[in-house]
């Protein structure tokens, strides 16, 4: 009887933890998803997915900057979602939804296998990590990777620590294939995966390995077919080179801490964060969390490789650590090895940016959580990890609130609202321009009725931009007059002062 009620309490606690995570992370996404813009990558993805639904099956995806065509798996994966709705808010939400599902599945597994402490830390990390939360807030090819990575880790954990490894070997391989199709750089996970299986003596029979090679070939066949039989090689140019720069190590560091997101204009994304006037403070704050995480990762790597014993070229052994559950130790080592494979990027000088590192999202959280749970290091690692979570969380949720209170007028959740506002206030002869540090750009014309104001050319400028840029103030004060109209955090300027 007592045992049953104890189990019930444990169960309740598990659901309470998961539910709390769900509430906190939902707040983040409710605030940030409408504050994302839409660009050609998203529009192309929706168009291609619609083509698939009409029976036109693409053999490849968009062209990468190095001239190579991407794999098509992403478009096939999102086509059922586009079938349900092609509304950006729904599609953007689907990324966050799957991220949350992936994290919950993994957290549930951690709770069952390792306990409450590990599960809470994993959830805390996943609900606060700056880049992970940011990427899961919008629809883009690599942004579903954390969800698949959660599934991959689950499958890998079962393969390493549970009986039937063959089934999970094929499942892990298929998930890896999808991940690689969404971001080719993650191909480095394949040799690491093989090494892990070799290290823990979980490689399946040779026949199964051959079968799996065929599975992989079938999954990428559309792309191979395109390159072999369709592509016009004479006019195909590849711009890539081997050692491009040293960005990989800096961007890895950036991915850990998230300091790259403290700038408003960032590469390969709509916007970062307008942190004015706290930019320096947040940069220092997040750089410190990068350093702390890097120290923990280096320590994890040391712990892992110091436990590998070299017998000969075909045999390695692992040394069990006293007081640590062997299953936990093996999983910890596997995750560290996967993380360690990033060294390949550093050594080859590949051009990397934070979105290329998205496969690290659940991996880092789980890896550092396991490190903090080791009895020998708990006293030091736990406060360090908590400090990182606190720093990352402070910025992430400050950012979410800032995005909500100061959205861009071009954002998917606010563009329509502005159109309505503009039509209600100005007649059809009026047009709106956006002025930001990049310059003055046409935004849209009004469809308001003739009885509305003839606003003419109105200029929208965010208060933050007005305060931080002397050039913006100069341009406005020279050519326009401030009106009493405003939208969200935008001031509205016009050549005519008496608009209302």
């Amino acid at each position: 009887m007592e045992k049953t009620s104890y189990i019930r309490i444990i169960e309740k606690r598990r659901y309470a933890v998961l539910f709390l995570f769900l509430i906190v992370i939902s707040i983040y996404y409710v605030l940030t998803i409408p504050s994302n813009s839409i660009s050609s990558d998203q529009e192309d993805a929706i168009r291609i997915a619609k083509d698939i639904l009409q029976g036109n099956f693409p053999l490849h995806g968009y062209k990468h900057s190095n001239g190579m065509y991407s794999f098509p798996a992403f478009y096939y994966f999102v086509s059922p979602l586009v079938y349900i709705s092609d509304e950006p808010i729904f599609l953007y939400g689907s990324v966050a939804f799957l991220y949350i599902i992936g994290v919950l599945l993994l957290a549930n597994y951690i709770y069952k296998k390792f306990g409450c402490f590990e599960s809470i830390f994993f959830l805390l990390f996943s609900a606060t990590h700056v880049w992970s939360l940011f990427f899961a807030s919008y629809f883009w090819n690599p942004n579903y990777i954390p969800f698949f990575m959660c599934l991959f880790i689950l499958s890998l954990a079962k393969q390493i620590n549970e009986g039937s490894s063959v089934k999970y070997f094929h499942v892990s391989g298929i998930i890896l294939n999808i991940i690689v199709q969404m971001m080719p750089q993650t191909i480095i996970l394949i040799p690491s995966f093989v090494f892990i299986l070799f290290l823990f003596k979980r490689l399946p029979s040779f026949l199964n390995q051959i079968i799996h090679v065929f599975i992989q070939l079938i999954l990428v066949y559309p792309w191979i077919h395109f390159y072999l039989f369709v592509l016009d090689w004479e006019h195909h140019k590849i711009a890539g080179k081997f050692f491009k720069n040293c960005s990989a190590i800096f961007e890895y560091f950036n991915f850990l801490g998230g300091w790259g997101l403290t700038s408003e204009y960032i590469d390969y994304s709509f916007y970062g964060t307008n942190t004015y006037p706290f930019t320096g403070f947040f940069e220092a704050f997040l750089t410190l969390s990068s350093i702390l995480m890097m120290i923990m990762i280096i320590f994890s790597t040391y712990l892992t490789f110091s436990k590998v014993i070299y017998i000969n070229l075909f045999s390695l052994q692992i040394k069990a650590v006293n007081g640590i559950d062997l299953k936990k130790q093996k999983l910890f080592m596997a995750l560290t090895i996967l993380n360690f494979s990033c060294l390949f990027f550093f050594l080859t000088g590949m051009h990397m940016t934070p979105h290329h590192y998205q496969f690290l999202t659940p991996l880092l959280a789980f890896n550092l959580t396991l490190l903090a749970s080791f009895k020998q290091h708990k006293k030091i690692i736990t406060p360090l990890l908590l400090l990182c979570i606190l720093m990352q969380g402070s910025f992430s949720y400050w950012r979410a609130f800032s995005e909500y209170t100061k959205p861009y007028v071009t954002d998917i959740g606010y563009s329509g609202e502005f159109t309505q506002y503009f039509n209600n206030n100005c007649n059809a002869e009026s047009s709106a321009y956006i002025l930001d540090p990049r310059g003055l750009h046409y935004f849209k014309s009004s469809n308001g009725s003739v009885d509305k104001n003839a606003c003419g050319k109105v200029v929208l400028v965010m208060r933050d931009h007005f305060e931080q840029s002397e050039i913006i103030r100069w341009l406005l004060e020279k050519n326009y007059k401030e009106t009493e109209l405003f939208f969200k955090d935008y001031m509205i300027w016009s050549v005519k002062k008496d608009l209302l």
Partner: protein, 226 residues
């Protein structure tokens, strides 16, 4: 482990010996490569280089030349690059130091720079260029190639639009990928890349060169009466 270090030291020593023995040949090869690269015609909108007696000395880690002229393409656009029309350098030696970080020390008898005049619009304490606009790639290109270098240029005579300003010492190094710190005869001048353009800060005045969008929407519009 000991064996490994001995082999490693041996390989390094052997490489150094090879370099010393073949220094003359390598220098000649480097000289040919440098001259060939400068002779490449990149098209009408790229600068043209003319040079005389340019030589690389590997052991001295230096490049010497009697004359090196850079004639900038006159594309008639208001891009800041077109503000300079010609740079002539006479009797120069550039020494490269590889200790800790890369340092280039250049000594010249004479440097002549011809440039177009610039008009400035006053806005408070700031002067905004109404003649030229700035493009980020200009700054990014320089940063990409010289981001980790410290450069010191010492010339006996500096001619700016044919007026001799005497001896000049110009030093510059990038603080980060947004800021170039220079010292011109001991005076600090910083060039900061901003989204709005380029901010040039001297102890007395702030100068600003707008990006193309701001330039087109303000200065150019006023000129054309738009």
């Amino acid at each position: 482990m000991k064996k490994f270090f001995i082999i490693f030291a041996f390989i390094i020593s052997f490489l150094f010996l090879l370099i010393i023995v073949y220094a003359g040949d390598i220098s000649e090869k480097l000289t040919n490569n440098l001259n060939r690269n400068l002779d490449v015609d990149w098209g009408d909108d790229h600068p043209k280089f003319t040079k005389q007696n340019m030589k690389v000395d590997l052991l001295d880690l230096s490049v010497k030349w009697d004359i090196l002229n850079i004639v900038f393409a006159n594309t008639q656009s208001s891009l800041i690059l077109n503000s300079i029309t010609k740079i002539q350098t006479n009797k120069c030696t550039a020494y490269i130091s590889l200790l800790l970080n890369i340092k280039i020390k250049m000594k010249c008898d004479e440097i002549r720079i011809d440039y177009e005049g610039n008009n400035w619009v006053k806005h408070g304490e700031m002067k905004i260029s109404s003649t030229f606009f700035f493009e980020r790639r200009v700054f990014d290109d320089i940063y990409d190639k010289q981001g980790s270098y410290e450069v010191k240029i010492n010339t006996q005579k500096l001619y700016l639009n044919k007026t001799n300003h005497g001896q000049y010492l110009i030093e510059y190094a990038f603080d980060d990928n947004k800021k170039l710190l220079t010292k011109i005869n001991g005076i600090d001048v910083s060039l900061t890349k901003q989204i709005e353009g380029l901010n040039i800060r001297t102890p007395e005045t702030d100068f600003f060169i707008l990006n193309r969008n701001f330039f087109d929407n303000t200065v150019k519009m006023n000129k054309t009466g738009g």
